[in-house]
């Protein structure tokens, strides 16, 4: 057992902290809303700054411009950025897409998309959900029809985060009707602005825009923008969802730790810290956040060692989201009558961060697999309980 970091990891953490000291976060304009996951707002300028350090591509093979650093460097970077509240919103998605392209992307994707990712320019939206395909993702209707050396995509995607400000969509489609439910799906990397693509914002309960819906009206894409072999997109997607749960939530623990520190400071200032019940709630949150962090590091060790993952990322994802909701709720209780004030309002406390977190956190147990779907995954895949019979 070993719960510390290696000297190289510690040195890298210090390097990241140094970068954050030199580059005050106010310098980076924000292009898209912070959805509360812990990765902050969407800021192209910040992605560029990370790219200039070589950090976006640092774990890639040298052949693709990387430095082949170990995976834990990504975790260190995430932790330091989240603890600082930096706007690195698109980073996890960029990393995941790049990894998929490196693993089974075409030459064209490797040549055109990877360098743009490394420069911090390419960011991605996920075109998975559809109006009638949410938790039952395989009920999707979007089709990609082969036509010579092109595919013609037709369908309607929804709940795609930052689709309007990203550069490419990862569009999950049906490419054939096969008897087996999980066969016949393919994924495409579709540049925004391709003719036939119509991206429309959906205003959320926060008043801001995070999600978009995307209409694909006979969108023509070259065949080599397909990610992976035709018809085997589902396996790729599953791997993607597994890693989505991990990479899309890893930074939640340090982000919650940052919020907890602010709440402690606030409680000290107002004198609420003398209330024994509140002390216990805050202390219990600190323990939960520490437990959350360790659940993710345990999953990280399994991923690093190539050990099988059955339920560990699903447990961690549910726990991250529910702990985040609990902390936001506690924050609202602590602020009392000031709790509903928005960022920018007179009299607002903690920059309005808590009311925003309270609202955004409501979506977290839904996005990327609902808490219910994931608990079923834990029970069936992790504990071997019998799956519920499914209608064909």
């Amino acid at each position: 057992m070993e719960f510390g970091f290696s000297p190289a990891e510690t040195a890298f953490a210090e390097e990241v902290r140094g970068f954050l000291r030199e580059q005050p976060l106010e310098r980076f304009p924000v292009d898209g809303m912070d959805a509360g996951y812990g990765s902050g707002a969407h800021s192209r300028a910040f992605m560029k700054a990370l790219a200039e350090r070589g950090w976006i591509s640092m774990c890639w093979p040298v052949a693709y411009g990387g430095q082949e650093r170990p995976m834990f460097f990504k975790l260190v970077l995430f932790e330091e950025l989240a603890l600082a509240g930096a706007p690195f919103g698109p980073l996890a998605g960029s990393w995941q897409t790049a990894d998929a392209i490196i693993e089974y992307g075409s030459e064209r994707l490797r040549r055109e998309v990877l360098p743009a990712v490394a420069r911090g320019e390419a960011t991605f939206w996920q075109g998975y959900s559809e109006p009638d395909a949410g938790s039952d993702l395989l009920a999707l209707k979007t089709e990609a029809r082969r036509d010579g050396d092109q595919y013609v995509i037709r369908g309607h995607k929804i709940w795609s985060s930052h689709a309007g400000i990203a550069t490419h969509g990862l569009v999950f489609t049906r490419t054939s009707r096969e008897a087996r439910r999980s066969r016949g799906f393919s994924m495409f990397v579709v540049p925004n602005g391709t003719p036939g693509m119509d991206i429309r914002p959906i205003r959320s309960l926060t008043g801001g825009v995070y999600h978009y819906e995307v209409f694909l009206d006979d969108v023509r894409v070259p065949a080599d923008l397909r990610l992976g072999p035709e018809g085997e997109g589902f396996q790729a997607l599953l791997n993607g969802l597994d890693s989505d749960r991990f990479w899309g939530r890893f930074y939640k623990a340090p982000a919650l730790e940052r919020v907890l520190r602010r709440l402690v400071e606030h409680a000290n200032t107002t004198g609420a810290s003398r209330d024994p019940a509140l002390r216990r709630r805050l202390a219990a949150m600190a323990a939960e956040i520490a437990a959350l962090r360790l659940l993710f590091y345990r999953a990280a060790c399994l991923l690093r060692d190539g050990a099988p993952i059955s339920y560990e990322t699903a447990v961690a994802k549910v726990y991250a989201d529910e702990t985040g909701q609990k902390l936001a709720r506690l924050g609202m209780d602590l602020l009392g009558p000031w709790a509903p004030l928005r960022a920018g309002s007179r009299e607002v406390r903690l920059d309005g961060e808590i009311s925003h977190a309270y609202l955004t956190s409501l979506g977290h147990t839904i996005a990327g697999g609902t808490a219910e779907v994931l608990r079923t995954t834990v029970a069936v895949r992790g504990l071997g309980l019998p799956a519920e019979p499914r209608k064909a």
Binding site: L260, L282, V315, V378, A379, L385, P386
Partner: protein, 358 residues
Amino acid sequence: MDFRPSPAQQLLVATARDFLKKHCPPERVQRVALDARGVDDALWQRMAELGWQGLLVPAELGGSEGSLLDVILLVEEMGRAGAPGPFVPSAVVATSVLLACDNADQKKRLLPAMAAGERIVGVALADEASSLEVDARGRLTGRALFVEAAHVADALVVAARAGGETQLLLVPTDRRGIARWPLEVIGPEKLFEVAFDGAAVSAEDRLGSSAGRRGALQAGALARTAEMVGAAQRVLELAVEYAKTRVQGGRPIGGHQAIQHACADLVRDVDASRGLLYAAAWRTSEGVPAVADVAMAKAYASEACLTVARRAHQIFGAIGYCEEHPLHLLHKRIHAASLDCGDAALHLEEVAQAIGLR
């Protein structure tokens, strides 16, 4: 970072699991739990032969020279098996106090015998449950509550006020002026009120000022956390097995989402508790400051593992309500462990201070 126990620790865990399966099966745990004395001397002796009681003790004092992390892994297995006996008070807390004290004679006299399973030393260290005082003439007066296994203890480590400070004393239980009264509790552990009515205390009983108390209680808190995690792990295994095999309405109850989701929450609670436990035990073993880590681990497990046991009662339905079913003993053990060496409220206050609450 690495969550896997070392090969030697894996061997220790595997050996412990096999041993406890053979020498401490559920029927035996049940029998000892219902027995008025509540201690299994043969099991205690066999454990000593494996070096368990001496795991924290250096070789020159007859011990097997393990680390605190080894002890934690072992106690987790003991909690999983529901093994009876005063292992945590004697082999962890009292042993830690003796190791840290500067009374070389007592160390030499007691630690080898404790490691060999020949002597048991109980503890009365909790402030809130004792009112012990040594007067100017060296007489110990007052009473200590919730002292585990005082009936089989050869001696007790007690914290008593003497002048302006707290002193640690080692008092033989057969000394004049000491009375032990059993308390009736819901669980299998045997607790006592120990009354001191002017018991004589000499220089050789003194273990020094209370310096070693905090470290010993931390080791005890970790051991109690390990016990809870082990017991909760067992509850999880039993519940999942039951959910797979109990058929109602033509299919296993574990095929229903209501039960599946309950089981998923058991895994989360056990895994999260274990993560905090291992991290805190590792840091303590490495000599890294870990006061807040230990407090978080104990407070968290106290809540989470008890929740596991309570949720499992709902999964088991009526059968879990029976005395012959193992669930209630695991549940009661978790509850008792959550109180010893600092309850959740005490540890949460420790955490509150560590995170900067004024």
